[in-house]
Amino acid sequence: MGIQQDIIIAGFGGQGILSAGRLLAYAGMLENKNVSWLPSYGPEMRGGTANCNVIISEEPVGSPILNSATTLVVMNGPSLDKFEGVVEKGGIIIIDSSLVDRKVKRSDVEACEIPATMMASDMGNLTYANIIMLGKLIAKTAIIDKSNFEKALIKVLPPKKHYMIPEEMKALELGMSY
C-alpha cells in the first residue's frame, strides 16, 4: 500500500457503515499503522445517511478530516452523488451495485461494482453486506491483512457475538474473491 490510504465509507444508517470503518481502523492499528476514524455526527445524519473517514497511514495522522479520498466505498445512491467528486485521480470507487442504480460517471478513477447486499441476502443475513464490501476493499487495496481483520473482530465484537466471527470471515472472503 501507499504511505497513506484515505477511505470514505458511506451509505444509509443501519448498514453498518460506521462499524465497518471502525473494524478497518482497528485492523490497521493491529498492523502498527497510524489510524483515525471520524464518524459523521452533524446534520447530515438527520437525513438517515451515515459516513465515516478512515485514515490508515505509515506516518502520524495529521487531520482526521478527509477533503479527498484514495478509496470510496458506497452503499447507496445519495452517497455516490455526494462523494464521487472527492475521490483522487486514479483512486478507487467500490459500489454496492444491488443498491446503487447508476454507474460511476468519472473516467479517471477505477470503479468496482459488487452486489454486496444481494450476496449477503444469499448468505441469509443482510447485515454482512458491509463486510462483503470491506472484502472487496481489501482485495483492491491490500490496505490490511485478512488475519488482522479477524483479530479486529475479536476486539470489537462483544464476546457474546463472537459466534458470528466465522460467518463474518466468510463474508469477507466472498467480497475478496468476487
Binding site: 489510524v35 483515525s36 471520524l38 452533524g42 446534520p43 495529521g62 487531520s63 478530516i65
Partner: protein, 354 residues
C-alpha cells in the same frame, strides 16, 4: 504502557478521569460530548463512584462545587451552551479555590448554534466567562492520546493549585477514534494531595473548615484577590505548555490549537514541497498563554498567522505576545466549517507575497 486500544476521544476523557482517581461525575447531556456521560453512567457504579445526571447544567456545576468542597476528585462535562450555564458556578469555585475538572467539547455558536466543531469559546474560557478576576487553567489537547495524558494531568494540577482546570476540545476530538495507550493502573500518574482545607467533618478533633467565596470586608477581599493573583502568576510560571514544531528557520509561523494544529501540520508538509518554510506554535495551555515562545520566534520569523475555528480570538493573545515586532495575520472559519489545508496554504502564500 499497556495494550493499544482504538477509542473515541470522549470515552478516553472519561476513562482517564477514572484512572486519575475521579469517582464523582455530575453532568447533563449535550452533543457532541454525551459519550462522556454514557461512559461514566456505566463505569461509576462498577467502581463505587457517583454518577448523577443532574436536572440542568446549573445543578451539575453546583454538585461539582459540593463534591470538590468535600475534597474528592470530580468531573463535569458539557458543550458550549451548557458551559455558558455553568459560568456562575465556575466563578464561585474560583473564589472558593475549589479544584475540579470541566470538559468543554466546543460546538459552534452563538446561541444554540450547531453541533459541529468550533473554537469559538476561547474568549469565554481564557478571558473569564463568569464574573470577577479569576482564571481557569485551560488545556487544549489535539489527539486522543493527549486527551488521556492531559485529563490525568488536569486532576493533578487542579488539586495542586486548588484551581478549576478545563479540557477544551471540539466535536472532531470528541467523536474521532484513534489509538490510545493507557499506563498500567499502578503506574498511573495520580498525585495525592492532602486537602486539609476540605469540609470532611471535624470529628471534634480540629477547627471547622469553611469553603466560601463571600468576603464582605473589603480589606479581606482585596487580600483574597491578591492571593488568587499570586497563585495565577505561579501557575503561569510553572505550568505553561506549548509545542514548538519546525520553527527554526521558518519564514512564517502558523499558530493553532487543538484540531486545527493537526491540519496545520499537514500544511507544513505541503508547503515544504513548494519550498516554503512554515513553523507551528501550538499552545497546549490556552491560559496560561505561552507568550515566551512567540517572543522568541518573533526575532526570526517574518510573520505570524493564527488559524482558528472562530472569528479571531486567540489571535489577540498572539498580538499581545508578539507586541508589534512582526505582523500577525488571521484566518478563520466559523459555523462548524473546518479550514482546509489548501485554504491555509493559500493564506500563507498571500502573506509571504506581501
Amino acid at each position: 504502557m499497556g495494550e493499544k486500544l482504538l477509542m473515541k476521544g470522549n470515552e478516553v476523557i472519561a476513562e482517564a478521569a477514572l484512572r486519575a482517581g475521579c469517582r464523582h461525575y455530575f453532568g447533563y447531556p449535550i452533543t457532541p460530548q454525551t459519550e462522556i456521560a454514557h461512559y461514566m453512567a456505566k463505569r461509576m457504579p462498577q467502581v463505587n463512584g457517583t454518577f448523577v445526571q443532574a436536572e440542568s447544567e446549573v445543578a451539575a456545576i453546583n454538585m461539582v462545587y459540593g463534591a470538590a468542597s468535600a475534597g474528592v476528585r470530580v468531573l463535569t462535562s458539557s458543550s458550549s451552551p451548557g458551559i455558558s450555564l455553568k459560568q456562575e458556578g465556575l466563578s464561585y469555585m474560583a473564589g472558593a479555590e475549589l479544584p475540579a475538572v470541566v470538559v468543554n467539547i466546543v460546538r459552534c455558536g452563538p446561541g444554540l448554534g450547531g453541533i459541529l466543531p468550533a473554537q469559538c469559546d476561547y474568549f469565554q474560557t481564557v478571558k473569564g466567562g463568569g464574573h470577577g478576576d479569576y482564571k481557569i487553567y485551560t488545556l487544549a489537547p489535539c489527539s486522543v492520546q493527549e486527551l488521556y495524558e492531559l485529563t490525568v494531568d488536569a486532576f493533578n494540577i487542579s488539586d495542586r493549585y486548588r484551581i478549576v482546570t478545563m479540557i477544551m476540545g471540539d466535536g472532531i476530538l470528541g467523536q474521532m477514534m484513534e489509538a490510545v495507550e493507557f499506563r498500567d493502573e499502578h503506574e498511573e500518574k495520580v498525585i495525592p494531595y492532602d486537602k486539609d482545607w476540605a469540609t470532611t467533618g471535624t470529628q471534634m478533633k480540629r477547627d471547622k473548615n469553611v469553603v466560601t467565596s463571600i468576603y464582605i470586608n473589603p480589606e479581606v477581599l482585596e487580600k483574597h484577590n491578591q492571593k488568587l493573583q499570586a497563585k495565577y502568576a505561579t501557575i503561569a510560571q510553572e505550568e505553561t505548555r506549548v509545542e514548538v514544531f519546525n520553527c527554526e528557520e521558518a519564514d512564517i509561523i502558523v499558530t493553532a490549537f487543538g484540531t486545527v494544529a493537526r491540519i496545520v501540520k499537514n500544511v507544513i508538509k505541503l508547503a515544504e514541497k513548494e519550498g516554503i518554510k512554515v513553523g507551528l506554535i501550538r499552545p497546549i495551555t490556552l491560559w496560561p498563554f505561552p507568550d515566551a515562545a512567540f517572543r522568541q520566534y518573533s526575532e526570526t520569523a517574518k510573520a505570524f498567522l493564527s488559524v482558528e475555528m472562530n472569528a479571531g480570538q486567540m489571535v489577540e493573545d498572539v498580538r499581545l505576545a508578539v507586541n508589534g515586532k512582526r505582523p500577525v495575520y488571521f484566518y478563520g472559519r466559523m459555523g462548524g466549517m473546518v479550514p482546509a489545508q489548501s485554504e491555509i496554504l493559500n493564506k500563507i502564500k498571500e502573506i509571504l507575497a506581501k
